[in-house]
C-alpha cells in the first residue's frame, strides 16, 4: 500500500534506464496502432467504428505490409469480433481488438463471457457517446456501460498514455494472478484524432517488455481435452464468478508492479492515479482522460491566484483503487467529481458513485459536488474547470440532489 501511494503520487517520475526513443507527431489512434504493431498479437479481430476506425485501418496496413505476424479477422460485426477473440484466446493465441461506442455496446454480451473465461484479450478502446441520439464524439458512456463486465479499464490522458497503457495492458491481462481481459481507452477525437508529440520506444524493447505469451490452456491441445463454457447452475456458477473477483483483486498489485517496471524501462512509471498539488489542496477535482490535461491548466491558474486547488487524475477505473484513493483524498475538504457520462440512477454519475462509496467505507465525509459534463463531446474549457473548482470550494455542503449533482453546461 505504501508503495502504491509512492507510485501514484509521482506516476510520471523519471525512471532509470531509458532506451533510445523516437519523438514523433502522432494522433491517439496512430499511437495505439503503433502499440499494436509492437505487441504483434497472433490474432486480431476487429470492426470499424468512428473514432476507432483508424486503429483498425492502420493495423490492417501493418498486416498486409508484413510488419506484423498477426492473422487479422475482418469480422462482420463487433459481436463477432469479440466472439472470434474469445475463440482465439481460448486457443492460446495472444489476441487483440479495437472498438468504440456502439461497437462496444454490441460486444456487451461477449465482454462478460471473455472475463468469465479468464481470457486475457486486450482492446484499444476509444471513448464515444452512445446512441440515442447518435453522436460520434467523446464521452465515457460506452466504457462505463462495461464497468461491471470484469474487464480491466484504464483511461488515458493523451496519446502517449494511450500507447503506454495499451502496452502495459497486455502484461496486466496475461499475468497469471490476473487473467482478465483489459482495455486501455482514449477520448474520442480529443485524443484519438489530436496530433501530439509522442515517444515511440524501440520495437525490441517493447517486445522484450511484453515477453512471450504462455497461455493457461488451449483448445488446440487435444492431449487432455476439456470443455469450456459448460452450463453452470446453482451449485457452481457462484464460485466461478467469484474467481473473476480474485483476479481483479490481484490486478491491483500487478498493475502497480508493471507500472513501476514500465517506468524503469521506458522512463515513465504509472500507478492507479496521478496527483497534482494534492498535498495541501483545499479543493480537488477528480477527472478521467483528457479532461485531466485541461484540469492541470485550471489548477495552476488557480494556484497563481492563491487558491489551493488540486487535481486527481484517475487512470485505473477497474479494478477501482478505493483504499488508495481515499488515502490520497483523506485531508481534502472539498471535491469536484467530474463524470463524462451519466449512470441515470438519479443519484450521481458512475465515478462519483464509486468514490462516495469508498469514502463512506473509510469514514470520510468531505463536501462533494458531482459534475456531469461534456456529454456527446461538448467541449470543456479550463476556465470552466476553474469555475467548477472555485464553486466547489465556496459552496455549502450539498443537501439535495440538485446541489449534489450539477449538469454542467447543459441548457435547461
Amino acid at each position: 500500500m505504501e508503495k502504491a501511494i509512492e507510485t501514484m503520487s509521482s506516476p510520471r517520475s523519471a525512471g532509470k534506464a531509458e532506451p533510445r526513443k523516437a519523438t514523433l507527431a502522432r494522433t491517439g489512434n496512430e499511437a495505439m496502432a503503433e502499440a499494436m504493431r509492437q505487441i504483434n498479437p497472433d490474432v486480431c479481430a476487429a470492426y470499424p467504428i468512428t473514432p476507432a476506425t483508424e486503429i483498425v485501418q492502420i493495423f490492417a496496413n501493418f498486416v498486409n505490409d508484413g510488419l506484423v505476424k498477426t492473422e487479422f479477422i475482418t469480422v462482420e460485426s463487433e459481436h463477432s469480433a469479440m466472439s472470434a477473440c474469445i475463440g482465439s484466446a481460448s486457443s492460446g493465441a495472444r489476441t487483440m481488438t479495437a472498438t468504440s461506442s456502439q461497437g462496444l455496446a454490441l460486444m456487451y454480451e461477449m465482454l462478460y463471457i471473455a472475463a468469465g473465461y479468464r481470457l486475457p484479450i486486450v482492446m484499444a478502446e476509444v471513448n464515444r457517446a452512445l446512441s440515442s441520439p447518435i453522436n460520434i464524439h467523446c464521452d465515457h458512456s460506452d466504457t462505463m456501460g462495461g464497468r461491471d463486465s470484469g474487464w480491466i479499464q484504464i483511461f488515458s490522458e493523451n496519446a502517449q498514455e494511450a500507447y503506454d497503457n495499451l502496452i502495459q495492458a497486455v502484461r496486466i491481462a496475461e499475468h497469471p494472478d490476473v487473467l482478465l481481459p483489459a482495455w486501455a481507452s482514449t477520448d474520442g477525437f480529443i485524443i484519438s484524432h489530436g496530433m501530439e508529440n509522442f515517444e515511440l520506444y524501440p520495437d525490441d524493447a517493447v517486445r522484450q517488455f511484453i515477453g512471450e505469451y504462455k497461455p493457461a490452456f488451449t483448445l488446440l491441445d487435444n492431449r487432455k481435452p476439456f470443455t469450456l463454457g459448460a452450463a453452470d447452475l446453482q451449485d457452481f456458477y457462484f464460485e466461478h464468478r467469484r474467481s473473476a473477483y480474485e483476479g481483479m483483486r490481484a490486478a491491483k498489485k500487478v498493475i502497480l508492479e508493471i507500472g513501476r517496471e514500465f517506468g524503469d524501462k521506458f522512463g515513465t512509471a504509472y500507478g492507479f492515479f496521478e496527483g497534482v498539488h494534492l498535498d495541501d489542496a483545499e479543493v480537488v477535482m477528480v477527472a478521467l482522460g483528457s479532461t485531466a490535461g485541461t484540469g492541470r491548466v485550471a489548477v495552476e491558474n488557480l494556484r497563481q491566484r492563491g487558491i489551493k486547488a488540486g487535481l486527481l487524475k484517475l487512470r485505473v477505473f477497474r479494478p477501482f483503487p478505493a483504499e488508495e484513493l481515499v488515502q490520497a483524498l483523506a485531508h481534502v475538504p472539498a471535491i469536484a467529481i467530474m463524470d463524462r457520462s451519466d449512470s441515470f440512477n438519479a443519484q450521481a454519475g458512475p465515478l462519483a458513485t464509486e468514490i462516495k462509496a469508498a469514502l463512506y467505507d473509510a469514514g470520510q465525509y468531505p463536501k462533494i459536488i458531482n459534475y456531469i459534463y461534456g456529454l456527446g463531446g461538448r467541449d470543456i474549457h479550463f476556465r470552466e474547470l476553474e469555475q467548477i473548482l472555485e464553486q466547489t470550494l465556496k459552496a455549502g455542503k450539498p443537501n439535495d440532489l440538485n446541489s449534489r449533482v450539477v449538469y454542467w453546461g447543459v441548457r435547461e
Binding site: 479481430a45 460485426s77 463477432s80 472470434a84 475463440g87 492460446g92 487435444n222 459448460a230
Partner: protein, 311 residues
C-alpha cells in the same frame, strides 16, 4: 468413409454416454455419425441450445474432444477465432508441424437460421476452413418450443400456437441451405438423422474439403414435436419421403440430389406422426394443407431442376 461397423469399434468419438438428451432425441446420433468421419481431432464450438445444455452441465461434459460454448448467436464467429489462431500458431511453428485438426461449429436451427445467421454468413464469406453443422429440430426447444424460421408452415409452437383464428406458424420455412450455398462455400449439404449412410457420406466428403462447409441436418425432437421417441428415425425419413426435407448437396457449386423420391408421400403422412400438426388434419384446415402441399411440390420441382434431374 468409416462405415457403421468400423464406427462401432471407435470409442472416444464425439459424445460419451450419460448426457442428458431425451430418449429418442436425434442429435446425439448426428454427432456420432459426423464425428466418426473425421480423420483428425475435432475442436467444437456449440451455440446455446438443447445440445449444449444437455451435453455439458458442469462439472460434467459428454464431449470427448476440446469443446467451447460461449453464446447463442456466435458459434460461427467463435470457430473463426479458433481456426485463425490455429493458422497463426501453425505458421509460427508453435504447433507441431504434423498436427492436423478439424474445426466444427454447431448450432440449432434458432442459433443458425435466426440469431446466428449474420455470424454464419460472415464466417462462410471469409472462407474459414470450418464445418458448420446446423442440427435442425425446427424450433427453439431449449427455451420451450418457440417458432424459428425453420419451423414448418402450420406447425404449432408456443409462439405460433394453433389458435382459433391462426392455425400455427404462418410462413413457410426459409431455405437456409440454398442461402449458404449462395455464399460460394465449398460444400453445403442437407441431410437427415433418418438416413445414416447419406449423413456419414456427406460428413466424410465435407471433412475432406478445404474451406467453408455447411451441413443442415434434420433431427426430430420428441418433446417439441409431440412424437413417439421410438419413431424418431421413421419420422425423420418421412420428412424426406414427403419432400418436406429433400436430401441434396451443393459441392463446389454443383447441385446434386442425394436421395431420389420415386413416390412422393403426401405431407399428411408426416403430420399424422406428430402432435404439432394435429390441428392441420381437421376439416377446417384442409385448404391450408392443400396450399402447403402445392408449395412443397413446387419447391421439389425447382430442386429437381437445379439438380439436373428434370421432372
Amino acid at each position: 468413409m468409416q462405415n457403421l461397423k468400423q464406427m462401432s469399434n471407435q470409442d472416444k468419438v464425439g459424445l460419451a454416454g450419460g448426457h442428458r438428451a431425451c430418449a429418442g432425441c436425434g442429435f446425439p446420433q448426428i454427432i456420432k455419425m459426423i464425428y466418426g468421419q473425421s480423420q483428425a481431432p475435432v475442436v467444437t464450438t456449440c451455440a446455446t441450445g438443447c445440445m449444449e445444455i444437455a451435453t455439458t452441465i458442469y462439472p460434467f461434459t459428454a464431449w470427448r474432444g476440446n469443446f467451447i460454448h460461449s453464446a447463442f448467436e456466435n458459434s460461427a464467429a467463435t470457430i473463426s477465432g479458433i481456426e485463425t489462431a490455429y493458422k497463426a500458431l501453425k505458421k509460427q511453428g508453435r504447433l507441431p508441424a504434423e498436427q492436423e485438426m478439424n474445426f466444427v461449429a454447431i448450432g440449432g436451427d434458432g442459433g443458425t437460421y435466426d440469431i446466428g445467421l449474420q455470424a454464419l454468413s460472415g464466417a462462410m464469406e471469409r472462407q474459414h476452413n470450418i464445418l458448420y453443422i446446423c442440427y435442425n429440430n425446427e424450433a427453439y426447444m431449449n427455451t420451450g418450443v418457440q417458432r424459428s424460421s425453420a419451423t414448418p408452415q402450420g406447425g404449432h409452437t408456443t409462439t405460433s400456437p394453433a389458435g382459433k383464428v391462426v392455425p400455427g406458424k404462418i410462413q413457410f420455412p426459409k431455405d437456409l441451405t440454398a442461402i449458404i450455398a449462395a455464399h460460394d462455400v465449398v460444400y453445403a449439404g442437407q441431410a437427415s438423422v433418418g438416413f445414416h449412410i447419406d449423413l456419414m457420406r456427406k460428413a466424410d466428403q465435407a471433412f475432406g474439403m478445404v474451406g467453408p462447409k455447411f451441413m443442415n441436418v434434420y433431427t426430430p425432437c420428441r418433446l417439441g414435436w409431440g412424437s413417439d421417441p421410438a419413431q424418431t428415425l421413421e419420422i425423420a425419413r418421412l420428412a424426406v419421403e414427403t419432400c418436406l426435407w429433400p436430401l441434396y448437396e451443393v459441392a463446389e457449386g454443383r447441385w446434386k440430389l442425394t436421395r431420389k423420391i420415386k413416390e412422393k408421400k403426401p405431407v399428411t403422412e408426416f403430420y399424422k406422426t406428430q402432435n404439432r400438426f394435429r390441428h392441420l388434419l381437421k376439416p377446417e384446415n384442409e385448404e391450408l394443407v392443400k396450399q402447403i402441399q402445392e408449395e412443397v411440390d413446387r419447391r421439389w420441382h425447382d430442386l429437381l431442376q437445379r439438380c439436373g434431374e428434370g421432372a
